[in-house]
Symmetry: C2
Subunit: 491 residues, 2 copies
């Protein structure tokens, strides 16, 4: 019996022995029915104490791999596979999953799923920034410096609210955008999603209603599903969410929260007009409904006017502002923030502690150093220029290849175009075939709270260079050209 034990390892000998024997049993080197050497004999063979061998044999029996027949010895069990299967089935996990969670996973693996396609596919599915544009070297120096200056402290537990210098920087950054942070508290969170999660958990009970634009960010729809809250979608026009329907929803459905993406809305790209911002905010105040403003793409402005955020217009009352640099700087760091009225922030703070104590500290410190040294500004100027070119390339390619097949509005910011195909086009079904055409996109139906919208498509362009955009749109035109000219595809 060829068993190698390492006396210098910190793993106890009996565990090493157990592990070696287990391997031999599972691979069949010790076949079913085979008798293991008596523990005294085994101990002699390996130069171990008998206790050690007994301990190892005990573990094997506990693990269901052997039978101990009193007075006769230890035998490899007859049907190890069945035995292991049985052990793995000791618990029927499926049956134990919380129904809300099961419902959410069904959503996410169904309509929430987006087919990405393989290596040669040109993918318009992503809204991630292009990391080829990242100022990695500048960031590396920032990380190095913060580790030199206060590494020990940054590697130990920190404050729930976040890294203080980053918090101060962000407050200044928000004030410069016209937001009055007085009466509010800023909390660093793990990107936008955790901010959304904390807000929904604090303000909603299962069964409550959340109002939102329709369509809206499909990840938010997943979050609402995971939290067991209903979703009342409010349609949009070119200026933003429809105020008449919004008022009806606020009045009749008394939502616990109104979730809005006023600037470069996902997926439509609409930048809510100033008048509409005022109107929407006045409605939220009148019906005393908290607003969660998703400012994820505010920095992605290439042309046109910057409107103030709802939070900047709010008298201090009802807007919770969720921000993130994840579309311009380093989403891999998972750093975002919430600015919330103090009375609410008190609860968000405790929920954040409960979730994970605080957001990773070193990431926050590195990001702070990067911003503080002016690299954020520099990077924004640089990448806005690139993304503006890509957006123009997109618009140009769409005009040349999809005119007549689809309608869209050229935006002035953000990372995506929102295309409407003729009613009857099934962009969801076509997305399944898209990789055959060498292209992938996000089918629009996943963005609608109430279902529908199968004739819509979201095209993200942030990670594609103009030549890829041209090729990708050509492929799309072939895919949709076939579809819209073939009556079988129409329903």
């Amino acid at each position: 019996m060829n068993i190698e034990l390492n006396r210098d390892s910190r793993q106890p000998m009996y565990l090493q022995l157990q592990s070696a024997l287990r391997g031999m049993i599972l691979t069949g080197a010790l076949p079913p029915g085979c008798k293991l050497p008596a523990s005294r004999e085994m101990a002699r063979l390996l130069g171990l104490s008998r206790n050690t061998v007994d301990e190892a044999y005990g573990c094997l029996a506990d693990g269901g791999l052997t039978d101990v027949r009193p007075g006769r010895g230890t035998y490899v069990r007859g049907d190890i596979r069945a035995e292991r299967q049985r052990a793995e089935e000791a618990i029927d996990w499926e049956a134990r999953i919380n129904e809300t969670v099961r419902e959410y996973v069904r959503y996410r693996t169904g309509i929430g799923a987006v087919r990405q396609g393989g290596r040669d596919v040109i993918s318009f599915t992503s809204l991630a920034p292009d990391h080829q544009l990242f100022a990695v070297d500048a960031f590396r120096r920032c990380m190095n410096d913060v580790l030199v200056n206060e590494g020990g402290v940054l590697l130990n537990y920190g404050y729930v609210r976040g890294y203080e210098p980053l918090r101060r920087y962000l407050i200044g950054y928000l004030e410069a955008k016209g937001i009055d942070c007085g009466g509010n508290e800023l909390l660093i969170v793990n990107g936008f999603r955790q901010g959304l999660e904390l807000t929904v958990r604090a303000l909603c009970r299962p069964g409550d209603t959340v109002a939102c634009e329709s369509p809206t960010y499909n990840g938010a729809l997943g979050m609402f599903s995971a939290c067991g809250v209903r979703c009342a979608g409010v349609p949009m026009d070119a200026e933003g969410v429809d105020p008449e329907v919004l008022e009806r929803v606020l009045r009749d459905e008394r939502p616990a929260l109104l979730y809005l993406i006023p600037t470069y809305h996902n997926p439509t790209g609409v930048n809510m007009t100033m008048g509409r911002r005022r109107e929407v905010l006045a409605l939220a105040q009148r019906y005393a409904v908290p607003v969660l403003e998703d400012g994820f793409s505010e920095e992605l402005r290439y042309d046109g006017t910057a409107y103030p955020s709802l939070k900047a217009l709010d008298g201090g009352g009802c807007v919770i502002y969720a921000g993130s640099f994840s579309k311009v700087l380093f989403p891999g760091l998972r750093v975002g923030w919430l600015l919330a009225p103090k009375a609410l922030a008190y609860y968000l703070y405790h929920l954040k502690y409960n979730d994970d104590i605080h957001t990773g500290l070193l990431h926050q410190a590195g990001l702070w150093a990067f911003c503080e040294r002016g690299y954020l500004e520099r990077h924004l100027r640089y990448c806005r220029k690139i993304y503006r070119e890509r957006m123009a390339a997109m618009d140009d390619a769409l005009r040349r290849h999809l005119t007549g097949l689809a309608k869209w509005t050229a935006g002035s910011g953000g990372f995506s175009f929102w295309l409407k195909f003729p009613t009857g086009t099934d962009a969801r079904a076509l997305a399944e075939r898209a990789p055959e055409y060498g292209v992938a996109y996000a089918p629009g139906d996943s963005f609608f709270p109430g279902g529908g919208g199968r004739n819509y498509v979201r095209l993200g362009f942030s990670r594609l260079e103009p030549a890829q955009i041209e090729t990708g749109v050509t492929r799309l035109s072939r895919l949709f050209g076939t579809a819209t000219h073939s009556p079988k595809e129409m329903t």
Copy 2:
């Protein structure tokens, strides 16, 4: 009127103007009732377009700072403070908080709170590692190298499961500890707490029961409260959780989850014996109750035998293993992991995505490089030696100063001692006075699911050097000496 505007700023002019005027109104430089210059006049004064001024005036009015009297002009409102107050009270946040969340925050700010004390206080409250021992420089080089090698990718979005090289490293690390990872999935999470949260959310419904040791980690009690689950505590003896009571609880209360800390239990320090581990696991299997094993302190072994984790003894069936390096390496990074049977891991994966997409990537990569280069092993050898000395200093000081006042068991690992004072001692009340004596500790009652335990105290020593330990324990003996000799303190 002294208004400075910066024409090079990316902040639009009307927002700069609004912000300047708002500041003057809030500080009283523009007092209540004061009339603002007509917009035409203001535009001329500042060299702005009239539209810009109108836009700024509109924002001030929206923010409730000014009144626009048609035909007469714009006036600073009469009672700005009251107005702001009203705006801030547009929403009664307290009334809107989810009851479960409110209940949890009440718990956490009540019994869950631990008084830390000020700067000159010697604090035994913490279970954090001592960052003076951290190999910061080695870690800094690791971070630098991973940023040089694949910075762009690490700074963009990553995989939900975690950074692949770290996952592979951890699987090897767990296999070396006798855990068979086959049939399981490893998921990187933001420290132990997020692992606990995902598990509770996947397996429990509000109102369900979770069984756990009594006493147990108070942060877990907070989590159960935040998730709206009941807690059935099972008492412990010197070998671990009591198997007879455990069986009764598993049989009669059908808990959705059994949460256990078998190794260097928090707060008691008990290392569950081998026989007890087998017994407990057999019970969980018999009653088909999922076990969440908290392995947070497994590496904190200074003497004695290492027992296998429950997960290593489990036939594959019912144990979810939650691990973390936060007690030995860099808790500020917030990196932990869950090893769970695949059928469950599928749901945990989707919940993790929902929470925050993935754990910060760069932290994972830095940690991987640190471990891969053998620094973890080296650091463990070094800090085990230091912590062993501190534990011995603690035991020594307790013997000399607290014999007769309290009882405790010298442990062989972990970061704390668990002291029992005579019934009637109110360690919670004394904790409030402890800072006057220059000392702080965690009152034991916060660790008991069912209340009680006011005569227990947890003393963490990880961040204290032997001289501080000596002084701190002297102070404790004075505090408790006074208390136990003064009949008024007894109840």
